[in-house]
């Protein structure tokens, strides 16, 4: 498709702004812009057509199955979108007098309460804008905690090699050394390895549980004890909370700090990559380190409290991605105790159903009960020269979004499948059918896989060229 700039024509208008109905003021020429930015000049109709047609090139939750491991692409309820767009939520200013935003504060307060109940934590902040931002915040809290105890030597965060890239990155951004430990042959934390590395330098350990292989860390209590005994804190990367919510709470199995991804577990849409929201919960003893402001309730009034002395400060402006919070809150109200539990149950049921079926078609290295996702490998197709990438690109021709590939890094040629609870058995059966057809094709016509996809708006794109000769903006010839 043409770029919006390529259909631009000097003099066209897409929006007529309000007229100046007061005495006009001309800016001091010292500051005045000399050359107008070359923005598109198009009609409203051009804009609507252009972006409507672009949108149709997209795959989305609203168009199909999205079994992206680690991403929890569950259905995004429309009620949530609707309530979040109420002017009383979307058209309010963060600095309004607190008596004019009692509804907003109440919502945030109640959301914190609900998330505390779900995670087993004692206090929450809703400020972080995404999962990684939550990690950053949580690790900063751990750092501040040790500093507040004048325990300055703790400069290491332990992270399993199966961890998401944001875990080491968030630790490093906080100035920590990252100690990566190898997983055992079942894909879990090797407690012996852990014991080797914990010590007086350990500030904490970051863990996703179930881990990125979809396996619940069975030794979690021992792991937590090991870290705690060494004086470290346990950080829970909540990206996979969908597997266990309502079943077991991070706060009850040894975690001190947890972040949630509302855009995964709590059904808020991903918006092509964001905005998300990454609330952080902590145990009582860490409460004062949370970012300011905190939402407090005094009698029947809600207020923003900036008074904490130990706070890590702020990790962004204002109070968080508020309208995302509204959506998550609506979701929790709708699901209720019973629905939240059922979500994890059906998510895990779906994953195991797929695991058993896919293990007959591809290799599933850790083929025991999984949680909400599992990792398979296309290694059995290697002798045909087929890589995981070929398999997933071929899936595009079947009109579904493929699973995550090449993550976690500890399994070769892996595809990571997370169906989520909002998908039906029919959809899973169709997915199994597609994998079957592709595996058969790999044997009969491997070339067709290697050159896939064939039916998408564009075909396989040249990533190397993009990186080697970067073209990062449009320029007129």
């Amino acid at each position: 498709m043409e770029l919006i700039f390529e259909i631009s024509k000097k003099g066209r208008r897409g929006f007529i702004p309000p007229k100046i109905d007061v005495k006009p003021y001309k800016i001091n020429s010292k500051f005045a812009r000399k050359n107008a930015p070359k923005l598109p000049e198009v009609t409203e109709g051009d804009v609507v057509r252009h972006y409507t047609n672009l949108s149709r090139l997209n795959y989305a939750v609203d168009t199909g199955f999205y079994p992206l491991g680690s991403c929890t692409m569950k259905y995004n309820p429309k009620l949530n979108e609707r309530v979040a767009s109420f002017p009383g939520f979307s058209e309010i200013h963060p600095y309004q007098d607190q008596k004019t935003i009692q509804g907003a504060l109440e919502l945030m307060y109640e959301l914190e309460e609900a998330l505390k109940k779900i995670t087993g934590m004692d206090a929450m902040t809703l400020q972080p804008a995404a999962g990684a931002h939550g990690e950053y915040t949580g690790i900063a809290i751990i750092r501040q905690y040790h500093r507040s105890r004048r325990d300055f030597k703790r400069d290491e965060i332990i992270v399993p090699d199966s961890a998401h890239g944001t875990n080491p990155a968030s630790s490093a951004m906080n100035g920590f050394k990252v100690i990566e430990i190898k997983s055992d042959d079942r894909g879990m934390v090797d407690v012996n390895e852990l014991k080797k590395v914990v010590g007086p330098h350990t500030a904490g350990m970051m863990l996703t549980n179930p881990n990125t292989l979809g396996i619940f860390e069975e030794n979690i209590l021992e792991i937590a004890k090991t870290v705690h005994d060494a004086g470290g804190l346990m950080y829970y990367d909540g990206a996979n909370l969908n597997a266990i919510m309502g079943q077991v709470r991070p706060g009850d199995i040894g975690f001190d700090v947890v972040h949630l991804n509302l855009h995964k577990t709590f059904s808020t849409p991903h918006g092509m990559g964001g905005p998300g929201s990454g609330p952080v919960g902590v145990k009582e003893f860490l409460k004062d380190f949370l970012p300011v402001p905190r939402i407090v309730k005094k009698k029947d009034k809600y207020a923003l409290d900036y008074s904490s002395k130990k706070t890590i400060g702020r990790v962004r402006s204002f109070y968080g991605n508020f309208t995302v919070l509204v959506k998550a809150y609506a979701y929790i109200l709708t699901m209720g105790e019973e629905g939240i539990k059922r979500a994890s149950e059906m998510a895990v049921l779906n994953a195991n159903y797929l695991r058993v079926a896919i293990s007959k078609l591809l290799e599933v290295p850790h083929n025991s009960i999984c949680m909400h996702e599992f990792v398979a490998s296309t290694m059995p197709l290697q002798d045909k020269g087929i890589k995981a990438l070929d398999v997933v690109k071929r899936m595009l021709d079947y009109g579904i979004h493929p699973p995550t590939v090449y993550f976690p890094l500890i399994v070769h040629e892996d595809i990571m499948v997370e169906p989520t609870e909002t998908e039906s058995k029919d959809t899973l059966d169709r997915f199994i059918e597609i994998v079957k057809e592709i595996v058969e094709e790999a044997k009969k016509d491997p070339e067709n896989l290697k050159t896939a996809p064939h039916t998408t708006p564009v075909r396989r794109l040249d990533d190397t060229r993009a990186a080697r000769y970067p073209v990062l903006r449009w320029k007129s010839e």
Partner: protein, 454 residues
């Protein structure tokens, strides 16, 4: 009963059989059974209309821009949003899509972001833009980290006229790498003191951060700042909607431009989500230290033009602990707001909007001064916000305004409680007024009549 989960009881049975377990609970056997949750204590499920009513009630407890007139800015602005923006951003094809890792079925997202990057370059006068950060504050904090990383120096100068919450965010972010942050004073014009800047730049200085227009609405003299800070990175925090009338920071030699994208078609949202702008000089070395996702143009196997995420070697999923940032999810949907907004308004519209904002603010100041109760605080040229000192009782003024369905101005005294340097620099009676094209002349009259009746 649940309308989001499809499983019928029969299906559950079939699936359990296929898996070879007896019950769903058996699937949770790896969990420490003695720690299983009995009850979380959440409410029972609610039907859709009940949730709707409950949230409607909460929303009704807030004063919103459909019912109130806003003279409040300070980082979030009530602008007019073209209806077509809403039509596009509410398409599920966009907002329920994931990060475009599978480029072949994400060309809609990718091309849009590539267009967005181009627009950001045009607006800011910079060479390269990423595809968004979380917000203006965290983008600016990341710029501070990047400056230190790039220059291998550890002092960051920050204009005291920077938004206090941005400063707080920077302060948090620098505590990991333990950078030094030093404030640069402003003078009676409300702009950065070139003298103080010169005095504070030293060998260890990585960069200087200024806001344009700054927190007081005053337009910094970027030319003078650039000249005074030749050997360090100049980081400019912009209000993007001002760049239809203000010279682009790129044309003054900025190295990094950040800012908050909210004014570009995004509702106030109580402060979030919006998105963070992050643009840099067109420099191959610099780009390697840049945070965030970047979209690039390429071709497919048939030679057809297409777009992909590129230069990923900087990012956490590849580089892990050595990444330029931990950012993963960004604020892509915000870029769609901005891309559609800027396409609709175009260069002419953006200029008209800028002129409207600046005319309104100057008119309002003039009228306020005439009442005798307000005195302009800074002599510098300003955009759509300005600070005045008042002899009125601020508490009473705000109450009266509220009664007349007016929100604002921003009471700068409220920033006194924070660690901000503003505390020292501002008096309790300083008010920050803001006007946009959404304020009609009638709104201004209404505001004045309240003031005059005091």
């Amino acid at each position: 009963m649940n309308s989001y989960i499809p499983h019928t009881e029969d299906e559950v049975e079939e699936m359990l059989k296929a898996i070879g377990v007896k019950s769903v609970n058996e699937l949770f056997s790896p969990l420490p059974q003695d720690r299983r949750v009995k009850t979380m204590g959440l409410d029972d499920p609610k039907d859709e209309y009940s949730v709707f009513l409950k949230l409607k009630e909460l929303a009704s407890k807030n004063a919103d821009a459909q019912r109130y007139t806003y003279f409040m800015g300070g980082g979030i602005y009530n602008h007019v949003i073209p209806s077509a923006v809403h039509q596009i951003v509410s398409r599920g094809d966009f907002y329920t899509a994931y990060t475009p890792y599978q480029a072949e079925v994400s060309q809609g997202s990718l091309q849009m972001m590539f267009e967005f990057q181009t627009m950001m370059c045009e607006l800011t006068g910079m060479g390269i833009s990423n595809a968004s950060m979380y917000d203006g504050a965290s983008a600016t904090a990341e710029a501070a980290l990047m400056a230190a990383r790039f220059t291998k120096k550890d002092k960051i100068l920050v204009a005291d006229s920077l938004h206090p919450e941005y400063l707080q965010t920077i302060n948090t972010y620098v505590s990991g790498p333990q950078l030094k942050v030093e404030g640069v004073k402003y003078d009676e014009s409300g702009t950065l003191s070139i003298e103080d800047l010169k005095a504070k730049i030293d060998e260890e200085t990585a960069g200087v951060i200024v806001q344009y227009p700054n927190f007081f609405g005053v337009i910094e003299d970027l030319k003078a700042i650039r000249e005074a800070s030749k050997d360090v990175l100049m980081i400019v925090v912009v209000n993007p909607i001002s760049l239809g009338v203000l010279e682009a920071p790129g044309n003054f030699g900025a190295d990094i431009v950040t800012g908050d994208g909210q004014p570009l078609g995004i509702p106030m949202n109580f402060g979030g989500p919006s998105f963070g702008i992050f643009a840099i000089r067109d420099d191959k070395k610099l780009v390697r230290t840049m945070p965030g996702r970047i979209i690039g143009e390429t071709v497919d196997v048939d030679g057809k033009r297409g777009y992909v995420m590129t230069l990923q070697a900087r990012e956490q999923h590849i580089r892990r602990a050595k990444a330029t940032s931990n950012i993963c999810s960004n604020h892509a949907l915000g870029t769609l707001y901005a891309a559609t907004y800027l396409s609709l308004v175009g260069p002419e519209g953006l200029r008209e909007i800028g002129e409207n904002n600046i005319s309104k603010s100057h008119y309002l100041l003039e009228r306020l001064e005439k009442t005798g109760h307000f005195k302009r605080k800074f002599s510098g040229e300003f955009f759509n916000e300005f600070v005045v000192e008042t002899d009125l009782n601020i508490f009473k003024l705000k109450r009266k305004l509220l009664k007349n369905n007016i929100i604002g101005p921003l009471d700068l005294g409220m920033f006194g409680g924070t660690k901000s340097r503003l505390k020292k620099l501002l008096s309790k009676n300083d008010l920050l007024f803001c006007t946009t094209e959404a304020n009609t002349a009638e709104d201004i009259e209404r505001l004045l009549s309240v003031v005059e009746a005091m």
